[in-house]
Symmetry: C2
Subunit: 535 residues, 2 copies
C-alpha cells in the first residue's frame, strides 16, 4: 500500500495514451515498447531515445523491464512540446516516435537538486535546498508496513535527504524469517546461481517505488550504489568492473529520470578491497557519461579518502567524525575541496554497544550545529535498540526535534546559505557580512557576550537586533535593545555603548544578529585586507 | 665575519687543486671554468656536467658566476671515485673532465632531508629528522652583525628549519639608511633598469653564504623562491613565467648542491595574483626537472590552497591557523593529502598590532603540541617589537624553551615519528600502539586520568610506566607504579586495578606511557576492526 498512488499516476504517463500526453516539468515521461525477449535483452539490446525540444536534446538509455517490455524514461526540464525517436539495432524497437507536452511543475516540484553558490545546494528552479539528511540503509528491503511507517516518520521530521542502499547487506534476517529476501538485483536466488549478466526487473521496480515515495514527500534519495557489507557471501561486493559498470548503466536507465535521485557511488568504499581509486574513477565517469541530468555524485569513505577534487565529484560526502567534534574543520574542507561539504556520517544518536552508535541527543545536535556553522551540512543517524538506522520505522531519539529547530533557523537565514565569516581567525560564526551573523558557542558556558563583529563590510552607525537562541531547549529570545556599531580597532567593530549580550551560562547557546537599517552603506572594507598583513 | 670558515673550506673544494680532490658525501664539489663573457652568458651558454660513479650518473646544470667564471656544483651521494665531463655548446667550456674522491660524511652530516614513513622526515643516512621550524623571512638581507647574531641564536634554540625569502620584500628600510640594499637578484638598481635576463652573481653569492651558515649549524634552509611582497614597486612579484622559470633554473644550479636546501615555491602564493595554479604546476615541474637531488618541495598558501595531492609536492606547507587551534585536524589532513603535514605558519608569539602576531607563549606552545600530537609538524614565529620575525636577531619569547622541551620528548619517542592513535575517535594521543602513548590535554584541566588505552595491539598482562608531563613548566614526573592492562570492553584496555593517574588540575599537561615488558606479545587485534562496524 502506498500513500500517494494518485500523484504517482499523474507523474508516470505511458505513451499509449491516445491524446497528446502531458507530463509536468521534472516529472517522468516513459516510452514503453514491446519486443522479443530473445537472447539477453538486458545487455544485447541497446536502446536509447532522443528527446527534442527546440534546440535541446537528451538521449537517455532505455532498459529491459522483463516480459518483452522495453522502456525509456525521460525527465523533461523545459515546458512545451517534446518529440522523441527511439534508436535500437533491433528493428521492432527502432524509430518509434511520439510527442508529449511538458506542463508547469506542480507546487512542490522544484526539480532536481544541484550545487548552488559553490558550497551550497539548490533546486533547478533556484529554490535553495539545505540538506538535512538521515540514514536508513535498509529501508528498501524491509516490510511494507515498516516502509509505510518510515515515510510517515520522515514526513513529520526535518529530514529532506535519506541515504540508503541500492543492494541489501548480507544479514541473517534476510535469509529466513519474515524479512527473507526473495528478489535480488540479479537473476538467481543465491550465490550459487546468480547470473550477473541478467537483472531482475521486479527487484528494481520495488526500489523505484521507494524512490518515488521519497520524491512525493520531498525527500532526496541519496542512493548508495555499491557497498562492502557482504563478506563475499552473496558476492555483490566482489563483482568485477564489467559487471559493476553494467549495473550502473541499468540503475541509471531506470532511476535517472527520478528528480530526487543523488548518486552515492558507495558507502565506505575502501572496504570494497578489490576496487582501487582508479576503478572508482571509472565508475564515477560511467555515471557522469550516462546520466543525462547530471544528478549529484559523491562517494562515502572508510579509511582511505577518495580525492574529492576530481571533476566528476559534485560534493564531498564525508565520514569523519572528528570533523564535526570541533569548530573550524568544515571551512578548511571547503578551502581544500572547493565544493559543498556534507558530513554524511557523524556517528549515531543511540545506545548500542558499537561505539559509533552511542551519541547523546545533545552531542548529535552539537555536531549538526558545528557542521552548519562551518558552512557545511550533516546527516543524522539513530541507533537506538530496534531502531531507525538500518530499517527505518520510528524515530525515538532526542536530536530530530532539535535538528528541526536548526533547520528552521537555517531556512530563515541568508538564502545564499550560511558562509563562515572571518574564517581564518574565527570558527564559530557564519552568515553574511553586515547582514546576518549566527554565532554558536557549543559546549562553552558564558554569562555575557561582548557585541563585537569583524569589520568586513561594516560601517559606523549600522544597527542590529539580536536573538539569544537556546539550541537544545528550542527557544529564541529577542534582546530588547538595538545595537549600533562603531570601529574598535584594525579588525573589529563594537557596539558604540559597549553593550554586552546576556547569556544564561548554559551550553549549546547561539546568537542571531540581524541588520535592521538596510539603508546604511557598507564601508567597502574587503577580504583582501590580509594581503598586506604578512610582513 | 662567519662562524665556521674552516668547515666551509673543507666542504667547498675547487677542481683546481692538483691532487685528487676529496669531498665528503653530501658535501659540495665545484667545477670552475673560465670562459668568454660574450653575449648573455646567463641564458645563452647552457652548461652541464655529467658526474659518474659506477652505474650512478647525475647531470646538474651549471651557471655563470660573473667575470668570465662558469661553475657546475655537485652533491655526491656515494663514497668512492667520481668522474665528470662538462657539456656545453661553447667549445671552451665543453668536454672538460676530472675526478674526485667522495669520502665518508663528517659526524654532523646526515645528508639531505627526505620524506620518511610517508608522514615524516629523515636524513639520507636514515637518521630521523623531526622538523621544528622558525621564520626569519628577511635575515638574508639584514646586517652582517644581525646575521651573525641570528646564527648564534639558532644554535641555542630548538629550531632546525628556517623559512626565509630568496628575494627581499619591498620595504622602506631597504631603500635608504643602514639596511639599504645595493645588490638585487637581477642586474640593475631599480625597477627602471632591471635586466630580467641577467642575474647578479654577487647577490646570489651572499645568499649562498647564508644557506651554508645554516647548513653548518644543522639547520634546514626552507628557501622561499617567490613572494608577493612588492606591490609591483620592484616588480619581483610580477615577473612573467619565462623569467620565473629562468630564475628557478639559476637558483637551482647555484643552490641545489647544498644538502640543507628545501624548496618552498612561494609564501602566500595566491597573493601573486597573475599566477594561476596551472602556472604553479609549471614552476613545480621546473624544479622537479632540474633539481638532480629532488630536495623537498612545497608551497605556502594564502587564501587559495594549492592542491597538495599533486605528485611534485613532497609535503604540505600550510598556513591555516585554525588547524592547530583544535585537536584532530592534522590527522584529517594526513588522510586527505597522504603526505607529511607541516603547519608552516600558525601565527606568531608576539605583541604587535597585527592580529597574526599576538599569540602568548602558552598559545604558541599549545599549537605546537596540537600539531605534533596530530602526527604533524609546526613552524614557530616571533613578532615581538624589534623582533625576530623578519630580520632574525635575538629570540625573546617564552615559547622557544617550551618548544625545545617538546622537541626532546619527540626525539626520545618512537623513531618512526609520532602517529595519531585510534584517530577516527580519539584526537589527543599519538605514538605507537602497545609501545608508546603520548596524551596531551591542552587547555583542559583534570585531576585524574583513568588508565584506559585503545585495544589495538594490546594483550592482557602488558605492563607500562607513566610520566606526567607539564609542557609549560617543563617537568617530567614519573608515576611511582606499574600499570598492567586487561580488557575492558570491545574497544579498550584498562589497568587491572582500575588505577588512575593523578594530574595537577592545570592546563597544558601531557602523559607519556611506555611499555616496560617487551616480552608480552600483542593480541593481533588490528585496525580493520571497523570494517564490520557499520551495519
Amino acid at each position: 500500500m502506498r500513500t500517494f498512488p494518485l500523484l504517482l499516476l499523474c507523474l508516470i504517463v505511458s505513451f499509449t495514451v491516445v491524446a497528446q500526453p502531458q507530463v509536468e516539468q521534472w516529472g517522468m515521461f516513459e516510452v514503453t515498447l514491446q519486443g522479443s525477449d530473445a537472447g539477453n535483452p538486458f545487455i544485447e539490446v541497446p536502446l536509447t531515445a532522443e528527446f527534442v525540444h527546440d534546440d535541446t536534446t537528451y538521449t537517455p538509455d532505455g532498459f529491459y523491464d522483463g516480459d518483452g517490455t522495453y522502456k525509456v524514461r525521460f525527465m523533461p526540464d523545459r515546458e512545451g512540446n517534446w518529440t522523441y525517436t527511439t534508436h535500437s539495432k533491433r528493428a521492432d524497437l527502432d524509430g518509434k516516435t511520439g510527442s508529449f507536452t511538458c506542463t508547469a511543475p506542480s507546487p512542490n516540484n522544484h526539480g532536481p537538486v544541484q550545487v548552488r553558490n559553490q558550497f551550497h545546494f539548490g533546486y533547478a528552479d533556484a529554490t535553495p535546498f539545505y540538506p538535512f539528511g538521515t540514514t536508513i540503509y535498509e529501508w528498501a528491503f524491509t516490510s511494507p508496513e515498516r516502509q509505510q511507517q518510515t515515510i510517515q516518520t520522515l514526513q513529520g521530521s526535518p529530514f529532506n535527504k535519506a541515504r540508503f542502499l541500492a543492494v541489501p547487506p548480507y544479514k541473517g534476517y534476510y535469509l529466513e524469517g519474515p524479512l527473507k529476501i526473495t528478489e535480488f538485483p540479479f537473476e538467481g536466488t543465491s550465490k550459487a546461481d546468480w547470473d550477473f549478466s541478467r537483472f531482475n526487473p521486479a527487484y528494481f521496480q520495488a526500489l523505484e517505488e521507494r524512490v518515488a515515495e521519497l520524491r512525493d514527500i520531498g525527500v532526496q534519495a541519496d542512493l548508495i550504489l555499491f557497498r562492502p557489507y557482504d563478506g563475499g557471501k552473496w558476492g555483490f561486493d566482489q563483482m568485477d568492473m564489467a559487471t559493476n559498470q553494467r549495473f550502473l548503466r541499468y540503475v541509471i536507465a531506470r532511476l535517472g529520470a527520478y528528480r530526487n535521485i543523488w548518486w552515492s557511488l558507495a558507502n565506505e568504499n575502501s572496504f570494497i578491497r578489490h576496487l582501487t581509486d582508479e576503478d572508482w574513477d571509472v565508475l564515477f565517469q560511467t555515471v557522469q557519461q550516462h546520466d543525462p541530468y547530471q544528478h549529484l555524485r559523491s562517494i562515502h569513505n572508510a579509511g582511505r579518502l577518495y580525492d574529492y577534487t576530481k571533476p566528476w565529484v559534485t560534493h564531498v560526502s564525508l565520514q569523519y567524525y572528528n570533523a564535526v567534534k570541533v569548530f573550524g574543520v568544515s571551512p578548511l574542507l571547503r578551502d581544500i575541496y572547493q565544493k559543498p561539504i556534507v558530513h554524511d556520517e557523524i556517528n549515531y544518536e543511540g545506545n548500542i554497544e558499537r561505539r559509533w552508535g552511542q551519541l547523546s541527543g545533545e552531542e548529535m545536535t552539537y555536531r549538526f550545529w558545528v557542521a552548519y556553522i562551518g558552512g557545511a551540512y550533516a546527516t543524522h543517524g539513530e541507533a537506538i535498540e530496534g531502531g531507525w538506522l538500518s530499517l527505518g520505522g520510528e524515530l525515538t531519539g532526542e536530536s530530530p526535534s532539535r535538528i528541526a529547530f536548526l533547520k528552521e533557523i537555517v531556512e530563515a537565514g541568508p538564502p545564499e546559505g550560511l558562509e563562515p565569516l572571518d574564517h581564518y581567525y574565527l570558527t564559530n560564526v557564519a552568515g553574511k557580512y553586515a547582514q546576518y551573523y549566527l554565532f554558536y558557542f557549543g559546549k562553552e558556558q558564558q554569562k555575557t557576550w561582548d557585541f563585537i563583529l569583524t569589520d568586513e563590510d561594516l560601517a559606523p552607525g549600522m544597527k542590529f537586533k539580536v536573538d539569544v537562541i537556546d539550541t537544545w531547549n528550542r527557544t529564541i529570545t529577542p534582546v530588547d535593545r538595538v545595537f549600533e556599531v562603531e570601529e574598535l580597532d584594525n579588525y573589529r567593530f563594537v557596539d558604540k555603548h559597549r553593550a554586552k549580550v546576556k547569556l544564561p551560562n548554559r551550553p549549546y547557546m547561539a546568537l542571531r544578529i540581524q541588520r535592521i537599517d538596510e539603508a546604511t552603506q557598507p564601508s567597502g572594507k574587503d577580504t583582501q585586507r590580509d594581503e598586506a598583513d604578512e610582513l
